[in-house]
Symmetry: none
Subunit: 222 residues, 2 copies
DNA sequence: CGACAGACATTGCGGCTGCATTGCGCGGCG
DNA sequence: CGCCGCGCAATGCAGCCGCAATGTCTGTCG
């Protein structure tokens, strides 16, 4: 892990660098806002520790700059200004955490770990078939980025077809997915839904094949 | 915004609920770990406030459970156990932040905002859709610089629609965001709010689309 | 090889469900 | 005491969906 420490007081900086180094954290040290801005441009840092009182201004003013350059880069403010008001100000300027001096090194490390843990992206299960992209969690279908306007029954049918793309889906399975168990169906309305689905998928590069006597099968257009 | 408060002390819970409600945050209250676990399963919460001393165990033990159920759900621990050691323990158990009692309500709100910014932090806590600009931290909506005059319910509805712009928001999710669990709704008043929202957004270049049988969808006007 | 039957495709229609809109009255807050 | 937000209900409306009629295709049997 490599962090950028923005701090003008040399004793403080040295002590922090030593403490963090003992935990195998690489520390780059910047004494001014200007140097810090320059340093962060390299994009090698995993987090920023930011002092407030700096020779060329309040550290908080750096936060919007960092956010623009390196969106998502965790920022922890370290400051002797520790009143609730000061903390609120720091957090509302966009900091991820605010730690008042003096603090324990262990707590700093823990807060660093906490802030670094941030999940990259909650796994959204997406299925791609041809130009068709189906988001299983959101229950939404796109064709080349354009959202498809599907009705509820069409969505339910497409979902199960997509989940088993390339394999034949028995007609009975489709009926159970689209209607309930209870909801009896006494016509060919499932076929009707498939028909309308096909039209809406005409530009999606996929085909819904009918497997006579068995069911349907979704696959990329040949 | 809707949060889950896990706290057994009723005075504390009532005070917090009142304070947060004043900032238009919907609070669901759980007195025990068991109830909390059950409540979080609904997946409607944006964050969790977690006490440590609870009738059925240490609140920290809930964190792994929440992480498994709802990865990415921000968790802030609130505890009278405020020593650095305690904080480190809390953070290393997976909490996103640790606030020692007593704390100022303003700081809690600021830390909530900080922790909520995270997922959407790519870019800013400002969402633009069409001419509509929604400030998630300030909770304010502008159309071409002109601030929109929205009521509380309208704001809550618009917030969740904006947070998930371009994706269908289930009707149930909207109801839970705008009203609480307990607040039963026995009419189409949600529809009424949507209707009035639409009127106020008429010049915003966005549309609130109704997805029949599913919910609503906000997107730029075609 | 032709004819028929069964299965799927497509499309129009009507009913019904669920959404849109508006007005009213209550209750809370100033 | 007046205002405003909100829940509620009534009315109007649109679109989804079930249904059936008709067309197409395929596989089978005489």
């Amino acid at each position: 892990m490599r962090i950028l420490l923005v701090e003008d007081e040399m004793n403080m900086a040295a002590a922090l660098t030593a403490a963090l180094s003992r935990h195998d954290i690489v520390v780059d040290h910047a004494r001014t806002l200007e140097i810090a801005e320059e340093a962060c441009r390299s994009g090698v840092h995993d987090a920023v520790l930011l002092d407030r009182k700096l020779p060329d201004g309040d550290g908080l003013s750096l936060i919007p700059v960092l956010r623009r350059e390196q969106a998502g880069l965790p920022i922890i403010v370290l400051s002797a200004l520790g009143s609730p008001d000061h903390r609120v100000a720091g957090l509302d300027h966009g900091a991820d955490d605010y730690l008042a001096k003096p603090f324990s090194t262990d707590e700093l490390l823990a807060r660093l770990r906490a802030v670094m843990r941030r999940p990259a992206q909650i796994g959204e299960s997406m299925v791609n078939v041809g130009q068709l992209r189906f988001n299983l969690t959101e229950r939404q279908a796109d064709v080349a980025g354009e959202p498809l306007d599907l009705t509820r029954r069409e969505l339910l049918a497409l979902e199960i077809l997509v989940r088993r793309a390339g394999r034949t889906v028995p007609r009975s399975a489709l009926e159970e997915a689209v209607y309930g168990y209870d909801d009896e169906i006494a016509s060919n309305s499932l076929d009707a839904h498939i028909s309308r689905l096909r039209r809406k998928l005409s530009t999606a590069g996929v085909e819904i094949h009918a497997i006579r006597g068995l069911g349907y099968l979704l696959r990329t257009a040949s």
